[in-house]
Amino acid sequence: MVTLTVDGIKVSVKKGSSILEAAQVAGVRIPTLCHDKRLIPYGACRLCMVEVTSRGKTRTMPACFNPARDGMEVTSDSPALRSSRRVQLMLLLRSHPLLCPSCDAAGDCELQNLVFEYEVGDLPFARQSRYFHLDNDSSFIRFNMNLCIRCGMCVRICEEVQGQSEISFINRGMNMEVSTDFMRPLECEFCGQCADICPVGAIASKWLVGTGRRFELSHVTTTCSFCGLGCSLTLEEKDQQTVYVNSSPDSPNEGSLCVKGRYGWTYAYSGGRLATPLVKKNGVLTETTWEEALSAVASGFSKIKKDHGPQAIGALGSARMTNEEAFAFNRFVRTVLGTANLDHGASSYGALVDGLAPTLGYPASTNSIREIRNAKVILLVGADLTETHPIAKNEVIMASGRNKAKVIVIDSIKTKLSERDGVFIKTPFGHESAVVFSMLKHILDQEIVDKTAIASKIDGFEKFLESLKDYDPENVATLMGIAPELIHQAAEIYAKAPSAMILISEGSNRAMSNAENGRAAAALAVISGHVGKESCGVMVFGEKSNSQGALDMGLTPKHLPGFGLLEDEEARKKFESLWKTKLPSSAGMNSREILEGAESGAIKGIYLVGENPVDTYPDRVLTEKALNAAEFVVVQDMFFNSTAKMADVVLPACSALEKEGSFTSSERRIQRVRPSTKEKLGRSDLEIFNDLSILMGNASFAYDSPADVMTEISKSVEFYAGVSYDRLGLQGLMWPVKDSSDDGSLFLYGNGYPHGRVKLGPAPELNLPKQESNQFLLVPGITKFHSGSMSTWGKSLLEVCPEPMAQMCSSDMSALGLEDGDTIKVTNDLGDSMKLKVKWSRRPLEKQIVVPYHFPGSKLNKFVKWNEPLAEVKVEKA
């Protein structure tokens, strides 16, 4: 820590902090035009000049990149500094057009504000005009380089934070501008960070051009409804219509958003949204009233309960429900329907529930997202974060860029992050855990382990060690066809690092393999002593916005809210007395078993809330058969999708932009969801559960509002005990929150494990697939432009990613005589085929095609089975 004074205020800051950061701590504002806390200090604008007196000498220096030192006396404002800043502003104005009255950025322009603040009047020199064409060619973003003040923030955020480097300074000199190579339109991640960070109007979102002044727009702060990272969103609205989305710099995500967060909200305005309930009459779905539809649902389920018993009903929820809705859904299914058969998202929570929880205690990520940037080593186990969780990818880019962290990638495809400094280990899809176990074997052989942890905190270590005997790095490497040195190197880098994090991403395409990945990662972290510390641990990123909350609220076949098991009498008793009903006393069926049960006749009624199994679950044929065979299918969704078309009753649900509640992100952060002023379509899931339970004769089930549910959650779920809506500000709260004075914790297990000790189960038998086949492997991929099948309803994301493109490597493409944009025909053993456009990509390895699964039209899930996440296919030019 260093201590200095800023304008007479004494402050202590961490060693290495800049004078500017010290001033911010002291509450002194220093003007800047080229600084952002996400970026490396640059010193281009010279507006942050301050006078520093140190060792008897006074000097003027930029505050943004000079480090604070002990005993400095900093003056942020003096006549000389004001005059220096005024001259800097005049020089900027020399070539900046003064068309502020017609500029879209007026009122939201840093330059304008500073020119006003420093009272810059006439320029003492001639103005110089620059002429650049207006570039409207790119999606979402407009370039008007006449307004550029060359602060470089756009170029830097693209390189330092996004790791994309899509724009650069070109034609350097008098006519320098920011553009791409050969001024082509953007072909990037379309995160919009360049437009968001631009202090003037040079790079702007097209949606804001001609919309109105930023200060005329009203603001609603909510949480993003796409992936599990829980970025805070600020919806900017005009005339009850969202026109733009950005994020506050003070939010947990520091103002960074990805393409889905910033531009994906148009799904809520889609013409495919359902507004009125539908009931099947004479085989045709017809529009009806809410009363009729709800009583049809109530009588339908009551009939099945009476005829076949409650165990003939299966319910599938969604990880996009709010915590309150998930809690109410759990209660509705377990008490009103009376069945234990409840699940969500194709059981795609294996890494948490079957991986981390049995080993460490909680099915939750151990640390927080913002700690990744300070980790010295980052191990990605089957996590293509660029495509699945772009904001977490930014953290890895920052760690490996400015902090020189090593990035170890274990994956079946090359990812953007495998190009960073570190190690890339190629594995067969879904067998990433084999490499992690062999890394464990290596560090145990070399004794680079946390011996005290093994001796004092771990149960079952001897058996675990015994089970690792097959995982000799040489053996695993030979079977995979890689060099064993890679595994040695990765293991040693990870184990010797002072701080190291393991990142795993979940998703429907990883449902089959992730439990082992989670177990292996947890074991590696514990044995090498990387748990319970800052910038360590295992992070598992969920695919959907409330992936963590859905587990917290027990949307699985065996759980109750708060991770209590149905089989555990004590946990069951707690909720039986709270809900005043008997609960099922054994675990129910998971999503696969529910669908197979429906096909075989064991399940008669299916209740689908926000879930679209026909388009997103593996094995489309089975799902379609199951929904046809079931007597009574209720779909509660925003859209009239493929699943809704097969339903008996369709209830329109409202979107996350139209309801209240909270989401829990993959870093355990509980954040508020607030409704925008948009007109509400349909009813919220909570309202529907309320109405249905009253119709089905359970009147005690009456929640007045989501806040009411949250009160019940905080009473019944131990680690939510201190949560209430008035405590959930912009930063939210990270559970465990034990009482109303507890501010939550950044990382878990700092003070020991919930069960006292870590339990290591034995590693599974080594079982690697043969790679002799001459056929192509179809790898279901995820693209950063879409999330599940929800985003394909919004027109904005379809603009940049309109159709699934099969990605292939260049040698396969030239072998088949293909060029970018050609069509290929993909056929499996059963003769099912689909036609796709092909695109060259660095991602797939030889004999792989990577196809995103988001597009219902391609019916990709016909090719994958529940137990075979990969399909062998024949690829030919169409």
Binding site: S129, R130, Y131, F132, H133, E159, Q164, S165, E166, I167, S168, F169, I170, N171, R172, G173, N175, S179, T180, D181, F182, M183, R184, E419, R842
Partner: protein, 171 residues
């Protein structure tokens, strides 16, 4: 002044000439030699330009992928150094002086005549591959203003309407 600057700031049109794949393969040697460090970009670009005569989009893209340097970054370097060019060179390079003395004596009209009659602006090459036009700041012959060099020949005291007849001597 503004008019002149406006003349200089036309949007760069990407070169469309296709380099046959077998010629593009020649780049592999340069990539093998220089890949691994961004500091090697300028020597790599220099050798690539010696190989092809200019640095079109395909060459820059291939270098970008091979050396793992973002393509916009490479383009930024190429457009900074006047040594590098992204359009093919003509048979004759016209170096027209736009320095103070020549400008006052009428090199702007010479430039306009070239734009009008040959159809090329500064930095461009005529479609028939005959001329490449470059603007220079001084040729060290201000006494002969306005001055223009074509290849190795220096022409001084040019009467602007005579520009085309001088160019006619170079086919």
């Amino acid at each position: 002044m503004q008019e002149r600057d406006a003349l200089l700031k036309k949007k760069v049109v990407p070169s469309v000439e296709v380099i046959p794949p077998e010629r593009l393969k020649l780049l592999d040697e340069i990539i093998d030699k220089y890949a691994g460090s961004t500091q090697n970009l300028i020597p790599a670009l220099k050798e690539a330009q010696e190989l092809f005569g200019y640095l079109p989009m395909e060459v820059q893209r291939k270098l970008s992928i091979g050396m793992n340097i973002p393509a916009p970054h490479i383009y930024g370097v190429v457009t900074f150094y006047s040594f590098f060019t992204i359009t093919p060179r003509g048979r004759h390079t016209i170096r027209l002086c736009l320095g103070t003395a020549c400008y006052v004596k009428g090199s702007k009209e010479i430039l306009e005549n070239i734009i009008k009659d040959v159809g090329i602006n500064v930095g461009e090459t005529s479609e028939d591959g005959r001329f490449t036009l470059e603007a220079v700041r001084c040729l060290g012959a201000c006494g002969l203003a306005p001055v223009m060099m074509i290849g190795e020949d220096t022409h001084g005291n040019i009467h602007p309407p005579k520009t085309i007849s001088i160019l006619d001597g170079y086919q």
